[in-house]
Symmetry: C3
């Protein structure tokens, strides 16, 4: 597990601080599914990784959908009769119903009311609401703000444009030894919402940095797309590429203090499902594996029946289940450096399982090989063997060409990491050969040789 081992040599506190700082820089931007908000977000990510940005014109058909008009906003407010900005977009970009059409009018409170959104249960928080596919305008405000609005006339202004333009998304492709791909996807369309959006953007960006420049078995594709329409647009334009995806993860809500959750792909027993379940089980007892359901983030599109890609979704708290979700309380305080860093570590661990999961063949399958004379067994008998020796016995016994390391990890309850070290050592000692043309850590000479003969 070279990736995880190397990651664990880093200062986790510093990693967390960097992740949080990156999220903080992205926080103030008013993103939407199109427009300058997502464009400047992608530009900021480009300072970290060489993202390729695509611009798809309004009106482009993408499966059953059409790329929408581009939305941009400069200002918005509700002013009282005496000119005070009671609701002010400049103070919080959540105040606007995202994708609001322009309006500038004076109207009574009762005319204004159908355009106001609040959360009764959390009277101090501003909700996040959108109206992407039905033209509308509106304001989101705290319920306390609403209660303070007296009868009377209000000046209402939304200085936005909804015009032909482009949908923007970013893509970073890291070539590996094979063209088989691992997809890491996150949406980049929410305004100032930290956990639901910026945590995923940050972890994905830093994961890309961790993997860049390595000798990797798989090629890796990082997507930063507007939710739903972005994934659909990418899939419509990349059907051949999609067929190369062997494993995939959607990242969202990976910055809060909740335990990890992994939502399985539609296939439910894909290798990514098993790898994630294994890593989370060894990460903490409170982590949970969720069955697939169609509703969710962009795994909705990747797991649509026409694609049925092996793409799951990694979260800490599950979106929609915590009160801060889609409110102004999902802010930079709600996500924490430590939690972001742990999430990045889990991603690295999952990638390491994918990179190193392979089938070996025990070259001495009849009875146990004599480990003792190779220095792989305890010299004094009669007392219990230690965990490392036990891992060796597991790897030898089940390396019959049928069981992968992950299979053995699941059956034995031993961590993939420990089994990988055992397999590595046994390979070095000439007791195992590799079965698949999988990747290997630099310097694994025995494998390199074998690889030539593998299909």
């Amino acid at each position: 597990m070279p990736l995880l081992k190397e990651f664990d040599q880093k200062d986790l506190v510093a990693v967390g601080r960097d992740l949080h700082r990156f999220a903080s820089e992205l926080y103030p931007i008013c993103r939407s599914i199109t427009g300058s908000g997502i464009r400047s977000t992608l530009s900021r990510i480009q300072l970290q990784i060489p993202l390729e940005v695509s611009e798809v014109p309004t009106g482009t058909p993408v499966f059953d959908w059409t790329v929408p008009k581009e939305w941009n906003i400069r200002d918005a407010y509700i002013k009282s009769a005496n000119g005070e900005r009671l609701v002010d977009f400049r103070k919080c970009n959540l105040h606007i119903l995202n994708y609001s059409t322009p309006v500038h009018a004076t109207m009574s409170l009762s005319e204004l009311m159908p355009h106001l959104f609040t959360i009764l249960e959390k009277p101090e928080w501003i909700p996040y609401r959108t109206s992407y596919y039905k033209e509308n305008w509106g304001f989101c405000l705290s319920h306390n703000q609403l209660l303070a609005l007296a009868d009377g006339e209000y000046e209402v202004c939304i200085d936005s444009t909804l015009e032909d333009g482009h949908l923007s998304y970013g893509e970073y492709y890291l070539p590996g030894r094979t063209s088989d791909e691992v997809l890491i996807s996150c949406h980049a369309c929410h305004p100032s919402l930290a956990n639901v959006n910026l945590s995923g953007l940050s972890v994905a960006t830093f994961l890309a940095q961790c993997l860049a420049g390595r000798d990797l078995r798989y090629s890796y594709r990082f997507l930063f797309v507007p939710g739903t329409i972005g994934a659909i647009t990418w899939l419509a334009r990349n059907q051949k590429v999609a067929s190369l995806i062997r494993h995939g993860l959607v990242l969202t809500c990976v910055g809060d203090e909740g335990p990890f959750h992994y939502k399985k792909s539609r296939r439910s027993d894909a290798e990514i499902d098993r790898a994630a379940a294994h890593v989370l089980a060894h990460q903490s007892e409170s982590s949970k594996i969720l069955e697939f359901e169609p509703y969710g983030y962009d795994e909705r599109q990747y797991c649509s029946p026409g694609f049925n890609l092996p793409v799951g979704c990694l979260m800490r708290s599950v979106w929609g289940t915590f009160p801060e979700y889609h409110t102004s309380a999902d802010n930079l305080e709600f996500i924490r450096p430590q939690h972001l860093a742990e999430s990045l570590r889990v991603c690295v661990a999952i990638v390491d399982v994918l990179e190193n999961n392979r089938r070996y063949r025990n070259l001495y399958p009849h009875c146990e090989p004599q480990l003792g004379r190779r220095g792989l067994y305890s010299a004094t008998g009669g007392s219990a063997i230690d965990a490392d020796i036990n891992a060796r016995l597991w790897v030898l016994n089940f390396s019959d060409g049928e069981h992968s390391l992950l299979d053995i990890a699941e059956r034995s309850g031993i961590s993939f990491e420990t089994l990988f070290e055992a397999a590595d050592l046994l390979s070095d000692k000439g007791l195992l050969s590799t079965q698949d043309g999988g990747g290997s850590a630099p310097g694994r000479a025995a494998w390199q040789r074998d690889k030539v003969n593998c299909t």
Copy 2:
């Protein structure tokens, strides 16, 4: 779910009252496996549904069995020396050991004793006992009655005949669009026992009335047969018909207040097993699914290895597990209008699942189709979707030609009814096509068209 929907528009109280009244009319008849009791029972059912009655002569070989002699009884009593009818068939037809041969003699109590049956634990109840296949005579009485019998001579009379005649059974065939059959079977051979026999007879009769005149996918066959020998006789004479049975239910003990139980067919994963399990799970948390075992009611014969038909058994309390079972306490008080009506509703719901379970094909399988522009999605984003939209996403995602609605119901936990409505709506909107040549509710034009092309 047109059948269930229509059923739910009825007055359940009135339905229950009708069911109980029907059971009450049948209650006094002294039924047995042959003879005038079952014959008059079938006649009474014919007033509700056009039952075809078969008469099979004594001596007819039916597989390993032979149709027995016909039994009829006019009177029976045990008289004290002073002429008092201490045990009187006219008061309760359970007093006779069912199928007793005739006897008229005076004998001492000790001679009489081997012919008397009581229940020690329930000294006020009369047991139900039979001796169909070994000629014998006897009386069933309450244990208190037995204790009151003093030493002395008793006049014992059973005015019965056991002679060559016929075995009678009733059959009602409701043709559907296909010759594939659903079997509804109940025994009609118990004397005054309400739950174990009349509840099933009533619910089956009223279910037949509910289905009559509908445009049905399946053909329905209702059997009213004497237990064991009747089912064996029917199967022996209808082996070709039996091969058309796709789903089947035996009904018994469906009138008491117990929670629902469904005993699975020998196959254990037949569609009827899954349909019943689904309906009961959504009916109440206390309902239970029982594994198949060979002992039971006529599913014993339908599930014999030579037939292995997909026939389960629907009950409320499980026969043999409640103290009233096979005693005089299984009377008209023990069954209740409300419980009978609920049982009928469960049957209708199961039939509706069978009628409407099919595989659809999502015509827009690549990514989600845009539900919003079809009015099938919430216009404002950011808050949770409702259950109906969620059902649509489930149906779309799994309508890959492999998953039936029942498969989706099992995987999602959503009720079949809700999924069916979603599928119906999505079909209307042109997003789904049907896969199987299954039935459809009247007016489902889209399906009717598709059906032509289906195999």
Copy 3:
């Protein structure tokens, strides 16, 4: 189940006494993986059963291993300056690090210390330690003995030899009607350790006596081998024989009071796994089935991937989990006559399942055959059937040529013994035929006849 039935007619107390007496006779011998200790152990077993002893020369290659030098020991001690034998091999043969090379020297305590082994947690017990594959010498002693050793000079003597010689093992082959084999294997290499070694030796020896002279379906092979190297040696010399092994049991730790444990074979669903699980489930609620893991006793070798034999391991307490394990406290008090006898009974019961497990065919598969007229059913109907009749119904219903008696036992929860009796009776009555050319108890005339026609 003729074997178990016959066993149950014995006096279990007497059986237990004999088993324990046999273990007691073997107890004082200083066994090791080679040498006179194991040789005299095999000689003692030969007084019970006609064991064939093999002697394999030192240096013989056996798969990845080589038969080691032969070890013999006459005496060993640590003497104080005043000539007192402080640690005395004659008092307990555990005092020697098993396979110690010879030494005779005077040395200081600090020089001696690296050669001393104790158990800190159990200061009164002597540990059992070995050094088979790395030449070394040492003493095992109680921690209290160690603490009593003052600084000073000690005379250290191990009068052993480690020279070219032989590895000895014993084998008893009981031919049955087929060449398919059941393997019963136990190690015979531990010195005075009662549960971990002598319990298995005793139970295996007495099981062989129980089976000798019977008309058996399978051939039985009993192996008494030194652990690890003995099993490897036998497998290396008997690869063709190994391919005949259909079921196998390793016996160890079968004399203590713990509940039964069965560790499954690597295949995990072999017939031996299911037979053992069935017998243990009906033996006691506290018995447990353990998943396979590579570490253990000689099932390690039988279940190596090149062989993958269906061999499990029967224990009471699991080796390594009780404090007495591999210490002087695993003595003749720790094993009890009753527990040894129960273990033998479990072995007989498992063998009986293997011997009698077969598929039958119901000759009357359409509906139930009429059991009543064959005296196999209750004459009076209306009350519950008894367990014997229920077993008959299960056997009839599932004797479709696909389900074995063990399948039916697992599905019904009824004991194999009860089902076997039902099948036996139904066969006698001409209702069943046997499917497999399986064995049968003497006198099962119907089967004997059928057997001719079976493949």
